[in-house]
Every structure is written in C-alpha cells, then in structure tokens.
Symmetry: C2
Subunit: 344 residues, 2 copies
DNA sequence: GTGAAAGCGCTAACAG
DNA sequence: CTGTTAGCGCTTTCAC
C-alpha cells in the first residue's frame, strides 16, 4: 500500500553510522573519518558521505561519542542551594549570571548543563564530577561548601568557583571584592549622615561574611560603634527578608539605614519599609549589592554596589577553558563600584 | 616513600564498576544491580556494595549508562534565535521562563541542557534530536520555525513548543492567548481616550502576528481606523527598539499611545519617550506584554498583559513528561490578563 | 586510503 | 541469587 514517495522519504528512525556506511558502500571507519572531516579521506568521498548523512538526517550519537572520547562538549553550571532556604533558580541574581555564562559557553560551541544541587547531601560534588556528564564545572557561589570544594580541587582541575576568597582555598576562584563593597556602602551611608545602619542578610556563606566584614570596617573607619541589635539575619528569599524587616520595625530598635547583602533583599526591604509608612531615603536609606537589572528600576532607584557580571562570567569561562586545556589559572577578584542612585 | 595513610586515601581517579566489583568480590552485574537498588540482591550485600562505592567516590558513568539505556535523564531547553537579531540568552523574558522551567525539571530529578540555536542553519532541530543528548525537548518560541517543527512532530514525540497556535500545527504547543492579549491592551487604551495607538514590534513570529491581530481587532471593535504609519518594526533588542521609537518621534506622525510586543520593548519605549521630553502616560500611554518582573518596577510602573509564566512552565513540563511516557497530550492555551499600572 | 577489530563503561537477557 | 555474555554506537590503532 505504501506509495513509492513514502518509501523514498528520509528515514527518521534511529540511524547509526553502520547504516550510512552501507548506503555509501564504505566501512564504518571511513564514515567516522569523513564526518570528522579527516583529510585522510579524499575530499570527494568525504563530501559524498556527508551528503548522504545529511539527506537522511543522520547525526552522531553523543552518548556513544562521549563514552569513547571521554569528553562531552558540555559545561556544567552548578547552583548550590541550601535546602532550607527554599531559593529557586528563578532568583534574579542567579538568572542574570546563568544567562551571561550561557552566552559565553555557547559562543565556544559548548552546551550548558544546568544543575541545581542541595548541598546538605554529602558527596554532591563528587557525584557530579564522577558522573562525567560535563568536561568542566562552574560553581555559582560557595555557599557553605568551602571544604567540599577544597577536597576535590587537588584531583579535579576543570572547575571554577564564583564566590569569595577563603584562607587556604585550593580551587580556582573568581569573584568580586565583597569586603571593599561592604565598606564602600557603609562609608557612603555615613557620609550621608546615617549612624544607625542595619545589616540585612545571613552571615553564613563567605561572600556574606566578607560583606559583613566590610560593613564593620566602614563603621570602624568612621568611629561609629557596632550594635549587634542592628544585624538582621535573613535568608535570600523575599518572604524571609520581608519578615526580617518587619521584625526590626516591630522591635523598636532605632535605625536610619539598611545595607542589604543583595539587591533582592534590598528591594524587598525597600517595599516593606514603604508599606510601613517609612520614606526612602528620607527616613531610612537603603543600599544593596550586585546591581541587578531591577535595581535601576525600583522606586526610588536603588543605590548599590555594582558587580560586573558580564565581565565576571567571561572571566569564569576563560579560566575554565584554560584549565580544561591543562594550563593552570589564577584566581581573580574583580573590583566593585558604588552606584549612587536615589535610595541612599 | 608513600606513607600508609596516603595509600589508604580514597582513590579519586577514574573508577569503574569493575573496580568496585573486584573490591567487593562480586561480579560487575551484581554491582550494577546493587547500585540500581535491585531487590534481587540481598539487602546486606547491596548495602555493602553501595558503601564501598561511596567511600571510593564511585559514581556510574552517565555516558555509558545513556548509551546502553538509550536515555539521558536530561531535558533539552532550546532557545531559537534569529541570527541577525543579536538577541542573547540574557534577555529578561527568556531568563524568566528558563528559570521556571529549570525549577520544574529539577524537581523531577532531570537535568537541564540549555541550547541556544541559530535557526538560519537548516536542520538545526534534527541535529539536536539525533544527537540523543536529551530525552525530551522544550522549545522556547516558534520563531519562524513552524514548518521545521511540524516536519519532525510526526516522528519525534517528546517535544513541547512554547508559542502561538498556527493553523495545522502538528506539534504539541503551550502558550498564552496572544490575540486576546493584544485586543485587551488596545481596548484599554481606547477606553482611556487614546486613538493614535502605535504598534511596536516585529510582525514575523506567530506570537507577534497574533498580538498584532489583537491590536487590529481592538481598533476595529471601537471603530478606530487602522493607520499603517503607526506600525513600527523593531527587533527584540533594546537598541533596536530605541532607534524605532526615535524614528517615530522624528517622523512627525502623531501618536498618543504605544502598544509594544513585549515588556522589554515597552520599557525601552518608556525611557526613550521620557528622554525625548514626553510624559508617560499624559502625553503617550504605554502598554507592554508578558509582565516580566521589571514591569512592576519601572517608573511609572508598566501597564501590561500578564502571562503566567510559572503556570506556563509547569504546563510545558507536564505535557512533556506525559509525552515522554508515551501518552499524547493536547496543546494548551492559557488565558492572559490585563494588569493596569500607571503607564496607561 | 581503507577496513577489521578492540574497547570506552555500562545493563540485562540468559543460563545456571 | 549470581555470573557470563552480548551488545549500546562510536573512534582509532593497527594492518593491509
């Protein structure tokens, strides 16, 4: 019943190299070489084989290729999440850095394997490395995993971590100057006459610790006393930050400024304060960190510490490819910059 | 020279199942079964083998597993880009939908393979499918690839496309009601007394066509004449949109409102108009489409057509997994909603 | 130049 | 319950 046309239609099923070889009347090896552009095969034959493969929609099976070659042409982008924080990949900061990384990786004809991991499960990193799904790993944020990272760094080279320098880190790190950022933010607030500056954020991950140290340093430099009552712990989610700020307001502790760990937290603080009847910056000034896209568009626009994510992503990918090629590569800390808008 | 401690240190090299088998004194099959939790192997032995694997940091090689099993536990997320548009993954709309999809996919213990493709290269879709890197495909936006999608749909089932319904589409589609969205936007503007409403965007991809049709319909319903001079083509990038709006201003064509294809374009229009001394919404009202996060935070906040991306992503992933399980699944169009803020 | 054959590391049918 | 064995589809050494 089949019409000849249907029989002629390109077979879209599971073709393999052997099928192409049969059609071309050559061996599998020859097809493999031809498809790889190996000059050992005369150009005419090569073109003919490529042509046959193309008309039949044949493409090399990557699982087989990866198994044989021990390479995947894929970069794993790992987002370590603390389970309890309930943070998702949809967080604007992650999204922005992932987007930049994806652009950079794609430009080098590699694929991006996105991987959200719960760091409370021990061995998470080994599991990713040993699964051999990627030729290299980009870790977005150390979270609390400094030790885990250090312990694989000696044996697993193609890995670059975005985060903060820790004493004795042996993994390749890229990041921004968190301590200086914190100092800049607080100095700016103090220059604007603020003295009761709250720190909003969780002081657990190294980046947070360093931003907090910068906060302390800024205070010290100006001779402003540190008040523990002004440290308000909050996870990285909006809900949590809102509760934290409401708690501060309810506590009766006086404050005239908030320096937040991130723009996401700062923006939440902004709206929470405004909803509570505070004027920003008149009653309370707010400074964030990261300079995500949203920061420019809030009302009032957010004063923040700018991290150049585009450059950061490019650096990470550069470092990674250098390591994948066998070279070593130094850790890199890029400078930050105070962007004064209207919230402080 | 090696100290015993070093010799005892867990070997982090390329272990394979055979190594674990040797250590456990069993065959490779037994290890394979034990690691897969196969109840055929007595629990005690199973635990012992898992223990050995764990202490030595052994993890199954996924290339080998995928080759054998013909499955990868990976979902490909494809972002088709028209080459000339210069659009990157860093576009806020893509980022938001990718983030949502990644959350959904991760929740099902699959990995996300991010894939930016240039659709001007013929055979791009076949190439992705036949490379067998993913068990299913999510395509973000039909772009101009309706035919390409249709032609694989009959033979390749596990694929879901985000976009607009096209006559005779045979692939599974999820999307929002673009035509109704366009109509709602224009009706709202007309209700606010606007009559000279410009349409900003490229009318190429089906989604754009339908939004444009809704625009026409809204005009018709109110008996407002359509003026071709008010259609301003613009690619999806900021630079292009800015040039387009500046062109409109320079042309001298009168207009009192802009309905943009997307929020990204609308936000660019907003700032471009303001920089040109126009007040929004007093002089020119602006309505966008998508309701990206930024839309709430612009000054003034953007009136827009809300697409529920979280629900949309969930739907796409649901449909895909149903198809991967062999079931068929219907295309789904979700409703849109007018969100009135202050720009119109 | 080209092909035969080995093997990348794994799973599962089959045999015991 | 456990082991032997045959591939999954590819690349590359080695021999011709």
């Amino acid at each position: 019943m089949d019409s000849p046309d249907l029989v002629m239609a390109p077979e879209r099923g599971r073709l393999k190299m052997a099928d192409i070889a049969r059609m071309a009347g050559v061996s599998i090896s020859t097809v493999s070489r031809a498809l790889a552009g190996n000059p050992l095969i005369p150009k005419a034959l090569r073109d003919q084989i490529v042509e046959i493969a193309q008309t039949h929609g044949y493409v090399v099976n990557q699982s087989a290729r990866s198994l044989r070659l021990r390479k995947t042409d894929t970069i794993g982008v790992i987002i370590p999440l603390a389970h309890e924080a309930g943070q998702t990949i949809s967080d604007p900061f992650f999204l922005e850095i992932v987007g930049r990384l994806a652009d950079e990786i794609t430009r080098r004809d590699y694929l991006v394997l996105l991987n959200k991991v719960i760091t409370t499960e021990p061995g998470w990193l080994d599991r990713i490395i040993q699964s051999h799904r990627a030729d290299g790993l980009l870790i977005i944020g150390q979270s609390t995993q400094h030790e885990a990272l250090n312990s694989v760094a000696d044996t697993y080279r193609p890995m670059v971590v975005w985060g903060a320098t820790m004493p004795g880190h042996r993994y390749c790190l890229a990041g921004s100057d968190n301590r200086e950022g914190g100092r800049l933010a607080v100095s700016h607030l103090i220059a604007r006459g603020r003295r009761r500056i709250a720190f909003l954020g969780e002081v657990d991950a190294p980046e947070a610790v360093q931003r907090f140290e910068g906060y302390r340093k800024g205070l010290d430099e100006a001779g402003v006393a540190f008040d523990p009552a002004l440290v308000i712990p909050s996870h990285y989610t909006r809900g949590d930050a809102q509760r934290a700020v409401e708690g501060l307001l309810a506590s009766g502790v006086q404050f005239d400024a908030v320096f937040a760990f991130s723009d996401v937290l700062a923006l939440t603080a902004l709206t929470t304060l405004q909803r509570a009847g505070k004027r920003v910056p008149e009653d309370v000034a707010v400074v964030g960190f990261d300079d995500i896209l949203l920061a420019q568009h809030s009302t009032p626009p957010l004063t923040t510490i700018r991290v150049d994510l585009e450059a950061g992503a490019r650096t990470m990918v550069d470092l990674l490819f250098r390591r994948m090629a066998g070279a070593s590569s130094p850790s890199t800390i890029s400078p930050v910059e105070l962007v004064v808008r209207e919230s402080a």
